[in-house]
């Protein structure tokens, strides 16, 4: 005897089924079942009799009951593993075809009830797993199949409005479970998640319904749907950029929201011109909120700005935002304890950002100097807590200087330009200190050595490229920031290397490179620095 559990049906098609069954029954009754005596015919007529009995007494009555809508509630089904597996299989089959899915949902108007029943069943399972007949996995599979049907029913050009409309009548937990199976495109997924997050935060009572007594918070569940889809992350951050506070609501997994924002604002996924509209509102929201735990969000903010330090520099206009506002926000980020150290950990991202800027826009000497100056101020050694951090700060700044020098055209007198960069940068970074002291410090001595080495390398590589110098000719010495007297060490090593150039000490190549490098750092300076630094060292 067939059970009457039916979740939904299409009355038109059930009507067609009824007529088809009746026709089959008539045809079966028309079979001359007493005409033959051999065994083979006897077996055939037995099958005919069985088919007649089955269709006549079981299936036609069932179909008649369905047409009278005399069928049972889904509640009896979701607790039955066999029934649940059958439903899951049916839904999965339907989800393969968008047309079938659309027809199914239009017909099965009670599917939100099924979704609610499944969510309720899952809640019961979480509370008392041993008391139920089905497993969480089976319920999740059914919900996933239902989500796949809903997703397939939406057209390829559907909007988040369509998706939201499909999820209006279901609980937050159910919405998350279904959304994960709806196979929406990145934009629609992000828009839908953003709309749901904002709706649930505006109407928190919606979160207090069945299916939420789980270890996963529904909002966290929504955000988790985005992290594997960078395009969706970017779109989501853009969606909430007018209301970034939704990222900061206590009680949810802050690290998840932070991951979504960092992925969404990664330079690999968004153009520099568009990133400001996403990055700046988030910084403002976090730094101006009184509810935010600075320990929880401090490092995130530094990670957020690390790939965009160029766009924060005074002369950059990628974001079309006033420099004072950008500087104020950056200062709010990097003013926190430990922030400079955190930025140093992201040194490669800072350099990648600078490299991209140089390649893309060929910035002027003044732009480079302004950038280096502002960055130097932010990561000045004075702010670093320990020796290792100080070294990291120097390494990052010198990496920035090397990149900047490499961007200079040889025709302008690369040594002179590089020197200008360093001095302009220093004048931006520490004008008062330099004026007061009137003397070199160790950082400046190292900066000059690094810049001189960068100039020598830049010229040598240009010569090798144009054929003035053999490609296998040794490159000039590098500066050693850890040497006792970096500029002295470099100038000595440079002199030895220069003498090996074609034409020797008096040759044209040696003359040209010496003039350029000595514009930055020369023996007279190194002697002066040596005396000053030794004096500093000996001072009690």
């Amino acid at each position: 005897m067939a059970r009457d559990e039916l979740l939904a049906f299409d009355p038109v098609r059930v009507g067609l089924l009824f007529r088809s069954l009746c026709r089959a029954l008539d045809q079966l009754r028309a079979v001359p079942i007493d005409a033959c005596t051999p065994d083979v015919a006897g077996q055939a007529t037995l099958s005919v009799r069985r088919a007649i009995a089955d269709i006549d007494t079981v299936w036609i009555p069932l179909v008649q009951r369905v047409l009278r809508a005399d069928v049972s509630s889904p509640s009896r089904v979701v607790d039955d593993p066999v029934a649940l597996a059958a439903i899951t299989s049916d839904l999965r089959d339907i989800a393969h075809d968008p047309i079938r899915s659309r027809l199914a949902l239009r017909t099965y108007a009670s599917w939100p009830e099924l979704a609610a029943q499944l969510a309720g069943e899952r809640q019961m399972l979480v509370l008392s797993p041993d008391a139920e007949h089905v497993t969480v996995g089976e319920v999740d599979a059914a919900l996933g199949s239902l989500g796949a049907v809903v997703g397939a029913s939406l057209s390829a050009a559907c909007s988040s409005t369509d998706a939201l409309a499909a999820l209006t009548d279901v609980s937050p937990y159910t919405a998350v479970a279904m959304l994960s199976s709806m196979r929406l495109d990145s934009f629609t997924l992000a828009d839908t998640v953003a709309a749901l997050v904002q709706r649930w935060l505006d109407e928190p009572h919606l979160l207090q319904v069945v299916g939420t007594h789980d270890d996963a918070d529904p909002i966290d569940g929504l955000l988790a749907l985005l992290v594997d889809d960078p395009i969706a992350c970017t779109r989501f951050v853009a969606d909430v950029s007018t209301r970034p506070e939704v990222l900061l609501v206590p009680g949810h997994d802050a690290s998840l929201a932070q991951r979504v924002v960092l992925i969404g604002t990664d330079p690999a996924h968004i153009a520099s011109s568009a990133s400001g509209a996403l990055v700046l509102p988030v910084i403002h929201a976090v730094t101006s909120s009184s509810e935010v735990d600075s320990a929880e969000w401090g490092n995130f903010l530094v990670d957020l700005v690390a790939p965009w330090t160029v766009q924060f520099s005074p002369h950059n206009d990628d974001w079309h935002v006033d420099a004072s506002r950008r500087t104020a926000l950056l200062a709010a980020v990097l003013g926190a304890d430990g922030s400079a150290d955190r930025l140093l950990h992201a040194g490669d991202r800072v350099l990648a950002n600078l490299d991209d800027w140089i390649r893309r826009e060929h910035p002027s000497m003044e732009d480079l100097a302004a950038y280096i100056g502002s960055l130097g101020l932010l990561i000045s050694e004075d702010r670093m807590k320990d020796v290792q951090a100080k070294k990291s700060a120097r390494d990052l700044l010198f990496g920035v200087i090397s990149l900047a020098v490499s961007a200079l055209p040889l025709t302008v007198g690369v040594g002179l330009a590089a020197t200008a960069i360093v001095w302009v940068a220093h004048s931006i970074a520490t004008p008062d200190v330099r004026a007061e002291r009137g003397m070199v410090n160790r950082g400046e001595d190292t900066a000059l050595a690094v810049t001189g080495a960068s100039v020598a390398l830049r010229i040598t590589q240009a010569w090798q490229k144009t054929g003035k110098l053999s490609p296998d000719f040794p490159l000039p010495p590098k500066a050693d920031p850890n040497a006792d007297y970096p500029s002295l060490r470099f100038v000595n090593a440079f002199g030895k290397w220069r003498d090996t150039l074609p034409g020797g000490y008096y040759g044209a190549l040696a003359d040209r490179i010496t003039r350029e490098v000595y514009t930055v750092v020369n023996p007279a300076q190194t002697g002066e620095h040596l005396v000053i630094l030794m004096h500093d060292t000996m001072r009690p």
């Binding site: 299409d10 089959a24 001359p32 069985r50 299936w59 179909v63 079938r100």
Partner: protein, 92 residues
């Protein structure tokens, strides 16, 4: 050539089997089965109905084919008996 009484009986039975097979083959349980899928209804009862109709459809098809095969066999046997009866005595 006159058919032997036995051969004639076999041919009658074969005709009867073919008629039965044809009538069974005319039953369109498959049409009902194709309407009993998940596009029409959802739930355990729907599943059971579909599976039952599928079973009947397969059984009826199998019996129809078997009846046809048996009819052919009976007709061949009738032909053989006729040939034997027409042959000179001793050939058998």
């Amino acid at each position: 050539m006159a058919s032997t009484p036995t051969a004639a009986h076999l041919r009658l039975v074969a005709v009867s089997m073919r008629r039965l097979a044809t009538r069974i083959d005319d039953v369109r349980v498959g049409a009902a089965r194709s309407l009993a899928g998940a596009d029409t209804w959802l739930g355990p009862a729907a599943h059971e109905c579909h599976d039952a109709l599928w079973h009947h459809e397969r059984m009826l098809t199998w019996h129809a084919e078997r009846l046809m095969a048996s009819a052919r066999e009976l007709e061949r046997e009738a032909d053989r008996l006729d040939l034997l009866s027409a042959a000179p005595t001793g050939v058998r």
